[in-house]
Symmetry: C2
């Protein structure tokens, strides 16, 4: 890893856990084991570093569902299952970055950054929207509120993983329970969400 990449990784880690304003460039420099001035040398400013961080990681999140939409061998509900599994997988493996995105989204500052982030998140929601719409058109899905149904899917997954503390309290677990490392929770969340969607989308 180059020093530039070290800075980006440390920035994700710290912005994710302490927030943008809660993280100083010196914190990042210390974590990445580089000189403070190097951050401005490579990224111009703290704010531009943040944008670079989002861009850097956003490419990984890019279009994992777009190919799914064109797949003709899977039924609509099977596609939903895959979407749910992948969404959960992504949240569990990259929780810090998702916290960062949603926290920034809920802030009134840096509007152009909010715009960029919501675009990134929407890239994954648009194919889901299309899949539900297609399911309805084909007659296999009920005529649900499409936009709010996808909100339910991603909202359920997101809310449970807002924080370790909250997750533990919701589930009634002890201090030692670590949601993000817990495979059983991942499966439980998947089962719930899939069952919920089958019950709501599929005609009886």
């Amino acid at each position: 890893m180059t020093k530039k990449e070290n800075i980006l990784e440390s920035a994700i880690k710290l912005f994710g856990s302490k927030g943008f304003e809660g993280t100083s460039v010196r914190d990042i420099a210390a974590d990445a084991v580089v000189n403070v001035a190097l951050i401005n040398y490579y990224f111009v400013s703290k704010e531009k570093l943040f944008e670079s961080v989002v861009e850097y990681r956003a490419s990984v999140l890019k279009g994992i569902f777009s190919e799914l939409f064109n797949n003709k061998e899977l039924t609509a509900i099977e596609k939903m299952d895959i979407i749910i599994d992948k969404t959960i997988e992504r949240k569990f493996s990259d929780a810090n970055f998702h916290h960062l995105l949603h926290r920034e989204l809920s802030l009134g500052s840096r509007p152009q950054c909010r715009e960029a982030i919501s675009d990134i998140l929407m890239r994954n929601l648009i194919p889901v929207k299309k899949i539900i719409k297609e399911g309805i058109k084909e007659g296999v899905f009920n005529k649900v509120d499409i936009e709010l149904t996808l909100t339910t899917v991603v909202g359920t997954i997101h809310y449970l993983l807002t924080s370790d503390t909250m997750c533990r309290k919701i589930l009634g677990k002890k201090e030692g329970f670590s949601p993000f490392q817990n495979k059983h929770l991942k499966q439980r969340l998947g089962e719930h969400t899939k069952k919920l969607m089958r019950s709501y989308l599929l005609k009886k």
Copy 2:
């Protein structure tokens, strides 16, 4: 309103929209039109002010569902309807404060504050949990995953209202659309969530 209350109101407003670290005590003093030193005079420190803010508003959020649980005249699903309506009502009328709570929850800093916040949020979730559990015991609800079902309810509502920008994008609305002022959206969200819960909870 006393100056002390002015400070609290300005603090909620600014902490809510710009975050804890993103708001300076001078910002708050300016907004409340008081001298900066008065904040430390009344609240000792910025951090204690934050705790006071949470405490101050938390009392309003207190136990609106606890009496509902003991109500014998309503069916389980009617109780769910009320919970959904009240949850939506609360989020719409006090979005800023909810942003503040959830943002702080997703941060790694101030663990004792996270603990307090998750306790506040749980106060409203525990009766919901009990209501679902009772519905199952009575045989009118399916044997669902109780904890994750309540996560779905609150997660759906919460996710849609993460930010104006994101909400507009999800719903495919134009720039002028203001989610938090929109009565129609409130009703639409209520209808969706209630239908979803009926479909998932009630036996066919």
